[in-house]
Amino acid sequence: MAECHPVGFQWVMEAKERGAKVIHVDPRFSRTSAVADVHVPIRAGTDIAFLGGIVNYILENGREFREYVVRYTNASTIVTEDFRDTEDLDGLFSGYEEEDAAYDVSTWQYEGRELDETLEHPRCVFQLLKKHYRRYTPEVVEHVCGVPRDLFVEVAEALCQNSGRDRTSAFCYAVGWTQHTVGVQYIRTAAIIQLLLGNIGRPGGGILALRGHASIQGSTDVPTLYNILPGYIAMRHAHQTFGLQEFIRNTGNRNGYWGHLDAYLISLLKAWWGDNATSANEYCFDYLPRLTGDHSAYTSTLAAVDGKLKGYFLIGENPAVGNANGKLHRSALANLDWLVVRDFQEIESASFWYDSPEIETGELRTSDIGTEVFFLPAAAHTEKDGTFTNTQRMLQWHHKAVEPPGDSRSDLWFAYHLGRRIREKLAGSRDPKDKPILELTWAYPTHGPTQEPSAEAVLKEINGFTVADGKAVSGYEDLKADGSTACGVWIYSGCYADDENLPARRKPHWEQDTWVAPEWAWTWPMNRHIIYNRASADPDGKPWSDRKKYVWWDAERQEWTGFDVPDFKKSMPPDHEPSEGDVAEWGLRGDEPFIMQSDGKGWLYVPSGLTDGPFPTHYEPHESPFGNPLYGQQANPVRQVFHRKENPYNPTHGEPGADVFPYVMTTYRLTEHHTAGGMSRTLPFLSELQPEMFCEVSPKLAAERGLEHGGWATIVSTRTAIEARVLVTDRMSPLRVADRVVHQVGLPYHWGTHGLATGDSANDLFPLALDPNVHIQEVKAATCDIRPGRRPRGPALLGLVEDYRRRAGVS
């Protein structure tokens, strides 16, 4: 966190000064480890074993926060008797269909609504959880992760001691957890721990996802993701022929706040199609684009390679460096008819046609590349109005300070004027497929010499307004399903209440009434800083302790109150029990804090929604030097892999040729550079801080492979070979795993061919092997070889890689 969020990390340092214990679990000893109380070096790709070990430690030693677990989680829910766990099927859950490499989840469901609050029923979630993690002992953690058992116990014990009524512990994570073929399940394991310890919804608790850049939270909220609509509403699929109401019934929940999906979706449709959206035409529900399958980034890339994708807009992203298997991406870009890149700098994804590594090797030739590349300069955040939504769900407005130079324009300008021009070209068309575009609301006020659309007008639309009088709504509870409200992003509703730009607030915390400091900017939903904060009070509505009081029930005023905005129906008493016919939030009880879940509970067990299991399970990374010591099933049985010649895989443990790539490689970031380098490697003051690509290796690995500190090394996989300067350091330590010592090669991933600080790209070494739920690439753990010296230049590089492939038996 110190490496990647140095400014945010000041709060960790403050907490530490107040006595908080900081534990850093990471394959490398980074700048975070330098100031942490404890550093736990771990084999990359084994965190589920580590976290599962903590789950087991809690359960075996009876350290769970019992009342919280019984009342606030689904621990007491009973699962059908057809369910089989990975303990029964040697690493698989019931319902695995080998041909599709997918699970039929029907055997994972609950058995009716029965609960066992004694948590003794053999098929209750609590007992199934115990059984699932029974073998994740401290000895197993040492064996799998390379973490000495005493150190593991120290961490588990510290967590247990610092949780409960009076104390809470927090987890902070980033892509070290998500960029795995079991990434989502990593997070799930932490969620299980925090639910067992009663740390969710409580001050000083929770799980903080440290996102990768200033507004990427915003880019999932108001999504740039292909499969969701703003506010995490599901997209329709083309094969579904049902209408709006059936869609709402299928994707919403009867109970909890998703019970108002109709209001959120219809308000969204009203925002997009305005007066054209009426109850007669299902509010233009039919105009929504529909998915024909997986349109995620990697699938789209392969479609481009196969000539099925003609054009691409690339905005504020640099996949030529940032995505796994860089060569695949650059080949994909070279196979498009047209490419539009918007960025401040000519990033590698825009310059690939003349300076990519494939030009050097001859695999691509500039004269043969037919892609028409449009590079459109983008305005920086200082040159435009708008918001960032950061990792805490906080919307912070930023004001334009200067005009963008030359032809640079904001993304808002681009999208608005592109839409305007398209609509002008389509004007008068009678073709039904043009109607969704022509009938959009597209009249934002513009101003200034470039006719910049008003970002504040967009913010208001995002907040929502009543159609009749155009007044801003005060929150998502005001949204209606009858077409009388419009709202661009229901979870952001409230940010512009009373027509006031709340994200622009800048009252420093020392001038505010509570430490929660609600008058700085605006946090979704409804300015709640900790979500599910109902759980900070007991079932009767009293804080679990005075020390950790946060929100509570005020019996006199018959409402929830506290230091934060209660994440609960303000007027719902703690003893509320739903009657027949009560739906949405009233369909939940007054002591069910997880208001977005259909059963109001925190899910230890996930009956549906995940493709790879109701419980996280330790699987080895797709490429690993080790066999899975816990199960016969080596890796995630439903991970997404692509067997094609452009995406070769290193042989994994047990396969012939695995010893050709005996080391674990992992990627990470440095403070000095920003993601794929477009915003840092082009600037002199940052480039000089970390000017060259380097790898980090332990002295033992350096000795084993003849690597010289300050010299060069070549790192090889079946994809390609890259070179890097060598940094020999004790901070990368060899680990004792299973029966032997394993070495890890550390690779910062920022470098590319373009800019002031140039170098080879680490992600070029990795294949496409994705998490099956969210299609995120596994770039945190794979295998490699490393050898001294620079890599061959030109076509000779291909010879080296070919040699390795031959030895590994990969064609």
Binding site: F29, P41, P684, L686, E688, P691, G710, L756
Partner: protein, 262 residues
Amino acid sequence: MTEQVGFFTDTTLCIGCKACEVACKEWNRVPEDGLNFLGQSYDNTGELGASTWRHVAFIEQRKPVDVEAKGSTADMRWLMSSDVCKHCTHAACLDVCPTGALFRTEFGTVVVQEDVCNGCGYCVPACPFGVIDQREGDGRVWKCTLCYDRLGVGLEPACAKSCPTKSIQFGPLEELRTRAQARIEELHTRGVVDAHLYGEDAADGVGGMGAFFLLLDDPEVYGLPPDPVVTTRDLPSMWKAAGAAALTLGAAVVVAVFGGRR
């Protein structure tokens, strides 16, 4: 002179982010001075110089902190410290400057006027820390101004402003010294017995540094001289000795010429 101001750098709070290096260069328009991979841990800046006025040092150590070290990095320590011109109370660079380019400001800081400096370089060997230096291609000397322009309008220096953990603290020197003493006591109580101050003592060889530090190891480990002395300290006694020698020599000459057989 208003009260002397300076820096107290508490290196136990440094996370090595180098915001100080970047803020300094941006504010003062200091040029980039070399894209060189030095292999000095995460330090590719190397040292202070004409075009580096803030330099973060990274020192990797294996220090047995626990007899029963649990886990392979339990004995690892990574020291980080942001170095800067010390703005010495007795500043040798100031003493030796023949043109008056270097002067003591109303804040007690030492600043070079680049339009007066004639590039003689006399101050360069005078500095006991090796801070001030001539800029290649330019000839003049450059160094940290303690953001003289910012102080003039009531702002703190750019580096202190940008430091996210308040490792770099700016303020009146007396106040900083009191605060630093309290911090040392607190750290010692917490068991951080290695913590000590460097440059806070007004009786030291440079009369107390305008930028002093809280370190966790010997100054040499951080690349700092252990007992710096203003290099012009002995000048008065040197002149006295030279004067005495000259007088003695003169007296001997007189005796030799005018004394003896006459």
